[in-house]
Symmetry: C2
Subunit: 314 residues, 2 copies
């Protein structure tokens, strides 16, 4: 019996860092978003998977959240001198992951296998599983046309108005090995504090995943990534606004309607509790700002307790 967590990038990674200290990491099965994967210089980059792996391995850059702490940028600098585009910041140590992954993928290994290899070799004891071994790409529709997610987010700094979001390839993607089974036999499901549109959205778009979550036999708890109408990290608020969604914890809860039993919101948003309960969820109000390890563990402990409590009730 595992705890299954749906995860995007930095926000999820920070929460999972606490969770892996609160429950045995071997019992933690993380489903990672690959919708923002990209190819740069012919290398396969999985930004969200890597952020989760690096964070759980204790290697993450504490300032940015992405990349590896104290990494150097010798290769990127030299690529620039050769005339290559260098808008995607790839550190030398980080590059090793992409080179390793790309070579393994080219030799026919599945992304889920490579991700397990990388995790294990970096000392991570949880399972981190991409949502699918098949290619899914998040595409952001803007007034300037359809942009691949990293082009929208990194290259153009999330400045374009978001008119829509699609997940190219999702309808034909198969869930990664073991993924639906883990959801079915989970003792708890957690929606990490990630962007519901472009981090959790692609996971839910993989055929079979939403259904398995709807049919869950265990409590599902979500943590709002929106606090006081602002995203803790990344472009969630602007995206939700562009999509004419309610940019609030309640707006996130609405997206997860039918999938979640307990919704965790920050004290700042306590007044939203009644309107979220109307969606058929219990609401847990607490501090959700993870400024340090103590806060990460406290939030994780509260989520684990909510799962236990809800299991007992059900």
């Amino acid at each position: 019996m595992s705890t299954v967590a749906l995860a995007g990038g930095i926000g999820a990674a920070r929460f999972l860092e606490g969770l892996a200290k609160v429950i045995p990491p071997e019992k933690l099965f993380i489903i990672g978003n690959t919708g923002d994967d990209t190819e740069i210089y012919g290398l396969h980059i999985s930004p969200d998977l890597d952020t989760v792996v690096y964070t759980l391995a204790g290697l993450a850059n504490p300032t940015h959240g992405w990349g590896i702490a104290d990494d150097t940028f010798g290769c990127l600098g030299s690529l620039g001198k050769l005339g290559a585009e260098t808008w995607f910041q790839l550190g030398d140590r980080d590059l090793a992951t992409h080179i390793f992954r790309t070579e393994r993928l080219r030799s026919g290994t599945k992304l889920s296998t490579v991700t397990s290899e990388i995790s294990a070799r970096l000392g991570v004891r949880c399972t981190i599983r991409p949502m699918s071994d098949d290619r899914v790409r998040t595409i952001v529709r803007t007034p300037d046309g359809n942009l691949p997610f990293q082009t929208y987010f990194v290259r153009r700094r999330a400045r374009d108005k978001v008119l829509g979001v699609t997940f190219d390839g999702a309808s034909k993607a198969r869930p990664a090995p073991g993924l639906l089974q883990e959801i079915r036999r989970a003792s708890g499901i957690i929606f990490c504090p990630s962007n519901p549109i472009i981090s959790v959205g692609p996971i839910l778009a993989v055929p079979g995943v939403r259904k398995a979550l709807e049919l869950r036999r265990c409590p599902a708890v979500a943590i709002s990534p929106i606090v006081g109408g602002r995203a803790l990290k990344g472009p969630a608020a602007d995206m939700m606004a562009g999509l004419k969604l309610d940019v609030s914890a309640r707006g996130v809860a609405k997206i997860y309607e039918g999938l979640v039993d307990v919704f965790v919101i920050d004290r700042e948003d306590a007044d939203l509790a009644p309107s979220i309960e109307e969606l058929g969820m219990k609401v847990l109000v607490m501090n959700t700002i993870m400024s340090g390890m103590a806060e990460k563990k406290a939030l994780a402990r509260a989520v684990v307790r909510a799962i236990q409590k809800h299991s007992a009730v059900a």
Copy 2:
């Protein structure tokens, strides 16, 4: 009217560094060996081309001769942690070249074009042209079986007895664009002080190259890479011994019989001059040990003068 130089790796690069200061670099057309090219982590590595480019760009590591000065090894170290083999020393800045080249090749660009792009962007004004855009791989036959060149040379440190050398793919390789024309209209041809078996050998094995050199209309000068029965750099002496060749400047001259008009040997080998002249070559005896830039330029000047003198005679 260009000077055409046939080049291997480090020995050639050192000589060419002097030559490019003695004649206008725009008039220098260098034919590089790609027999020791290899794929590592799915990246296309061209060690000899890179050594020549880096040296002429003033970027080469002055201690090793290969790689880039003051390079870091963050990526390689991290690849090791991921369980990848790390016997081939790839620095972070050096990696940029391989990543750039591999991406360009995968997009359908020819190696000769990519090599020109890399050279130009690093500020090299000579032309550096791979011997062929087609795949040629030097294979070393040893008591332990056939080894790809870099496995023999780097991984196993050239410790295996050499029973034979073949150039896989050479018989079907086409000379790189412009290569035969440059040989035909050259004002001088230089065989750099490179390993005659595995550096110049692959170039001569590309169909049409040997013939074009035999039919040359200008003087050809070779500099012996063997001095006092020892290779200045690399495994030339052991290889020649394994192949039952005469490990001496005369042994090298013998390999180049019919291709070379003037053979440059070191003072230490002065006594070999008569036996080399018997092969139908003029012999130039001078200091060939390039300990610094002054020696490199002196050697280059002597070679250029030999070409001029021989042209006048012919």
